[in-house]
């Protein structure tokens, strides 16, 4: 995917759109309320659907009604906190969530919402602390939670180097808990490259190579890292290995846009790392030119 296309997609996704599947749920809850009469739990659920539809005033009204019917209905504080986060009432959100936490105990969702509220209020360090707690409380944290925390610790750090190190530590934790996932390995490799931790980056890529039935992409990336590390001979070997891996694929697979792009990248990279007439890399002590772009 080209950066331009990614940018276009991000822009196009930012437009306001209606939510899906929620009208159906709203209808279902209304039907239940009609049949059963006022019930705090149903108002609570309807408030959540209204919140997701962006009908915040109605959602607040339903929460109020739920509280009147049963002030102790489970999840009331959490629902208030969630709604306040959505509308940007950071202080009110934190109050509701802390109340919920005191009454009903902690959980990863409460801590995540507290992180969102703190982030909204501009208190990045608090946001990081809450997000860390959310991660610790999650039985099966998804990779996105680590990626998000890594971004936040980086943004909250006093300086770039500290931010990189802390973000990397978060991703390392994710890798330790979830295994060598591409969704964590690749951002970690990027941070390693920024920090010049070449061996760490190469070690991470080795895990991806081992896990993939087709490794040409990771071999090419390995070559890129080696080139940046000033190890042109090894870089060339890696790029050639990537090209060999490409060449072993049937023609129909080589014709995909991603692989054509990869092939062109390898051509450029190999051209910037010339060989002598004996077929071995030149003895040029200067590091190879980094490739223009990561496919």
């Amino acid at each position: 995917m080209t950066p331009l296309l990614s940018l276009l997609l991000c822009v196009s996704l930012s437009g306001a759109l209606v939510h899906d599947g929620l009208d159906e749920r709203l209808h279902d809850i209304a039907h239940r309320l009609e049949e059963s009469g006022p019930r705090a739990d149903l108002y609570l659920r309807r408030a959540d659907v209204l919140r997701r539809l962006g009908r915040h005033e109605e959602a607040f009204a339903d929460l109020l009604r739920a509280g009147e019917l049963d002030p102790d209905v489970p999840g009331l504080g959490l629902a208030r906190g969630r709604l306040c986060v959505d509308v940007g009432w950071w202080g009110a959100a934190e109050g509701a969530l802390e109340t919920h936490r005191a009454r009903e105990g902690d959980g990863h969702e409460v801590s995540s919402l507290l992180a969102d509220a703190a982030l909204g209020a501009g208190r990045r360090a608090d946001a990081v602390a809450h997000r860390r707690r959310a991660l610790a409380l999650h039985d099966a944290p998804p990779p996105d939670l680590f990626v998000q925390l890594a971004r936040e610790v980086r943004a909250a750090a006093a300086d770039a180097e500290t931010g990189r190190a802390e973000a990397l530590a978060v991703l390392e934790e994710g890798l330790a808990r979830l295994g060598a996932l591409a969704s964590l390995v690749l951002p970690a490799v990027e941070l390693d490259r920024e920090a010049g931790r070449w061996d760490d980056a190469l070690e991470r890529l080795r895990a991806l190579v081992d896990a993939s039935p087709r490794a040409e992409r990771w071999l090419a990336l390995r070559g890129d890292v080696l080139a940046e590390a000033g190890r042109p001979d090894e870089a060339r070997v890696a790029w050639l290995a990537a090209r060999d891996a490409l060449d072993t694929l049937p023609a129909h697979r080589r014709s995909t846009p991603l692989l054509r792009e990869l092939d062109a990248h390898l051509v450029r990279a190999l051209a910037a790392s010339p060989v002598d007439t004996e077929g071995t890399p030149t003895d040029d002590p200067s590091p190879a030119e980094p490739p223009e772009e990561q496919p």
Binding site: L9, C10, G21, R25, S36, L178, S183, L186, R217
Partner: protein, 726 residues
């Protein structure tokens, strides 16, 4: 009907004893257990629905000979009743109570230690056995009369849940026994009422959920089940139904049981029974069997069943299920996909029991199910109920979460995405994982599925609903570039199926005919099968199959659709080598859609040799696109000398001729054009394929590149490509 300890139990014990004499190593159960069904679901009941208030009706000996009789479900208003009850003359003042009686015979109640009664009631019920009240559900305390209202109205999936009660067999007597039930409405205006009941007996524990298969691979499968009381966990299994000689076990006791069978033989039929170290609780019988997946990459027939929005737990879902069971009889289901909204309304455990475990019990015992999460699977139950390959256990790259994952079966790579709860942006964890996963698969076919469809004008609108738009804009470019062939979704309660498409990522108003890689219906008996070349962006078919449990209206006018219909049904997909056939099967067994995808190099671009190396090796020429009128075609040249003058030769016939040290296939020339490669030695030329080209017409292309590094000739020659119009 007369009941006693089952003959099957006695038979199993004899078989077990015989085998134990022969088997030295194998573990054998000291006994086998069984469950007897005293009152099955769908039994025939005497009933009184005239609004009167009988006296002593719940006692044995009461004369109910004037009552009507009919099979369960009994009720009205839902459309799934086997017997319709009367609610009286006034729909705004319906009878509050209906009465039901059913007799059955028991030889020896002491043969069992436990009874399990499950009742479906809408709205409330009081159940008596032999004149003694044993269950009061959704009814107030105190005296009950014919005008007593149920405590709360039931709606949605609550109406389809069976309430569970464990009883002591002392409630029964030798000889004739009576179950008597009164079902009460919550109001005189309630739109519906329902009743059914089942009564089981056992001398051990009950299996209350399962067994069901998870995470099947070519050498392993996971089996899960739940019991009503804590037991240890044992699975006996083997390749012959009469010789379950292998054992997996866990001595820890609990209600929920999960065991993985490992070191299995690929593509092999196994039989099994689950239970405790003392006895089997479920199986072995003909329904407790599964076949391991073939080795990854193997080309052999694969049957896939896809159901979407099936979680209604009602007669509509059952009709779809039964239609498929009848259709597939004799052909086992290899892969079963659930496209989300698997259990209405909220995906609670109780709703999953009703909509999945009670609705598809046989299928769950035989076939591994691979679900995705819908917008109604909102509680945490989903991830707890399934074992899904977050670690790449079944092929594909590890995703780190059970919410999205991939797996391989034979020569098919399946990708399950989570459109409900995972971040859907470009560059998010799921997006990054998918990009890497697609780049890592070497399978012939890629089938992706998730809940929210990228194209629909059914009960949902893919132009205006955020998750649908996000999936289309963020994930479709990635999937199509990765070579996806078929995309399955639910959400809209209809069946909608596109042409063979590529490159449609914006709203339906921007859809162009040129985005159809093939404008036909894909039916071998109609416009012909879709011929798809290997590789990326050669087209995919998108199908919404969200009508496996309910129907909802919509305009059904998306321009990308080859077919749209609001009909109950499911999708049956057969992959055999390089052919994929998909049929939409309605709830009566009719086939409403039947399309085929055939993959190969045949109709697109054959890569021929003939090249000679230049400064960057042999220049590579690749053709992309389909020779369909109006379709774009592109020829890519790479690995040529940078900034070099080059020529592409076009020929309508081929007489291979020595040229530049290689072989020129594109000869004699029909035409040629010159260009200059870019700084990396690449060049791409695009054109639109004209109309009127006859099928089978072939063209050869090859490039010559001026390259000073090449001795003697001063030029290199690319490989040749041959295109064939489909």
């Amino acid at each position: 009907m007369t009941h006693g300890p089952t003959a099957r139990r006695a038979m199993t014990r004899r078989v077990t004893a015989a085998v134990s004499l022969l088997a030295v190593v194998a573990w054998l159960p000291p006994a086998a257990a069984a469950t007897d069904v005293l009152v099955p679901r769908g039994s025939t009941w005497r009933y009184l629905d005239d609004g009167s208030a009988p006296v002593g009706w719940q006692l044995p000996g009461f004369d109910d000979s004037t009552w009507a009789s009919g099979p369960a479900q009994l009720g009205y208003g839902d459309g799934d009743e086997a017997t319709i009850l009367s609610y009286g003359p006034d729909p705004d003042d319906k009878h509050i109570t209906a009465y039901f009686r059913h007799e059955f015979t028991v030889v020896d109640p002491a043969a069992w230690t436990k009874l399990r009664l499950r009742v479906l009631r809408d709205d409330g019920a009081v159940v008596s056995v032999n004149g003694v009240e044993v269950l009061r559900t959704n009814m107030p305390a105190g005296a009950i009369t014919s005008t007593t209202l149920a405590t709360a109205a039931q709606s949605g999936s609550e109406e389809d849940l069976f309430r569970l009660l464990n009883l002591s067999p002392t409630a029964l007597v030798p000889g004739t026994n009576l179950v008597a039930v009164e079902v009460h409405q919550s109001s005189g205006t309630s739109s519906d009422t329902s009743f059914d009941l089942e009564l089981h007996a056992t001398d051990t524990e009950f299996v209350v959920r399962g067994p069901y298969l998870q995470l099947g691979t070519s050498d392993s499968v996971t089996i899960r089940w739940n019991t009503d009381a804590a037991t240890d966990s044992v699975v006996r299994y083997g390749t012959s139904p009469g010789a379950l000689t292998s054992v997996a076990s866990d001595p820890a006791t609990g209600l929920s049981h999960t065991l993985q069978l490992t070191n299995l033989t690929p593509d092999t039929q196994y039989w099994y029974a689950v239970g405790t170290s003392s006895y089997d609780l479920s199986g072995p019988d003909a329904s407790h069997t599964f076949r391991t997946a073939p080795l990854v990459g193997t080309s052999q027939p694969v049957r896939i069943w896809a159901i979407g929005d099936s979680g209604t737990a009602d007669s509509l879902a059952v009709a779809v299920r039964d239609a498929y069971e009848a259709f597939t009889a004799g052909t086992p289901t290899d892969v079963w996909l659930m496209l989300g909204d698997n259990a209405y309304t909220d995906g609670t455990v109780a709703e999953y029991v009703a909509a999945v475990y009670d609705t598809y019990p046989e299928m769950l015992r035989r076939t591994v199910v691979w679900p995705t999460r819908g917008n109604h699977d909102t509680t945490g139950a989903y991830t707890g109920l399934f074992n899904l390959p977050s670690g790449g256990e079944a092929g594909g790259l590890p995703s780190g979460t059970e919410l999205y994952y991939s797996f391989d079966h034979a020569n098919v790579h399946f990708v399950c995405l989570d459109s409900e709860s995972s971040p859907l942006g470009v560059g998010g964890a799921m997006w990054t994982w998918l990009e890497a996963d697609l780049a890592s698969t070497a399978q012939d076919w890629i089938i992706a599925y998730w809940h929210h469809p990228p194209y629909t004008k059914g009960s949902h609108d893919s132009d205006t609903e955020s998750k649908l738009v996000s999936m289309r804009q963020a994930f479709l470019p990635l999937l199509e570039a990765g070579g996806v062939d078929l995309v399955l979704n639910g959400h809209s309660h209809s069946y909608e199926r596109t042409f063979l498409l590529d490159g449609h990522y914006q709203s339906s108003t921007t859809f162009l005919d040129s985005m159809k890689k093939d404008p036909g219906d894909g039916a071998p008996a109609g416009d012909g099968a879709y011929a798809k070349a290997f590789g990326a962006n050669n087209g995919a078919v998108y199908a919404v199959a969200g009508s496996s449990g309910k129907l909802s209206d919509g305009p059904l006018d998306h321009p990308a659709m080859a077919l749209s219909t609001m009909t109950l049904g499911s999708l049956v997909i057969d992959v055999d080598g390089l052919q994929l056939r998909a049929r939409f099967l309605d709830d009566t067994g009719g086939v409403l859609d039947d399309f085929t995808l055939v993959k190969g190099d045949f109709a697109e671009w054959d890569v021929l040799g003939g090249g000679t190396p230049g400064v960057q090796g042999v220049p590579q020429l690749v053709g992309v696109g389909t020779q369909v009128a109006g379709s774009p075609l592109t020829v890519h040249l790479t690995r040529a000398a940078p900034g070099a003058l080059a020529y592409v030769f076009l020929s309508g016939t081929s007489t291979p001729t020595p040229f530049l040290g290689g072989t020129l296939h594109a000869f004699p020339f029909l035409n040629s054009f010159a260009f200059v490669t870019d700084g990396s030695g690449s060049y791409a030329a695009s054109a639109t394929w004209p109309a009127g080209v006859p099928s089978g017409l072939q063209a050869w292309l090859q490039a010559g590149v001026v390259d000073a590094s090449v001795p003697v000739f001063g030029a290199s020659l690319s490989n040749a490509v041959r295109s064939t119009a489909p």
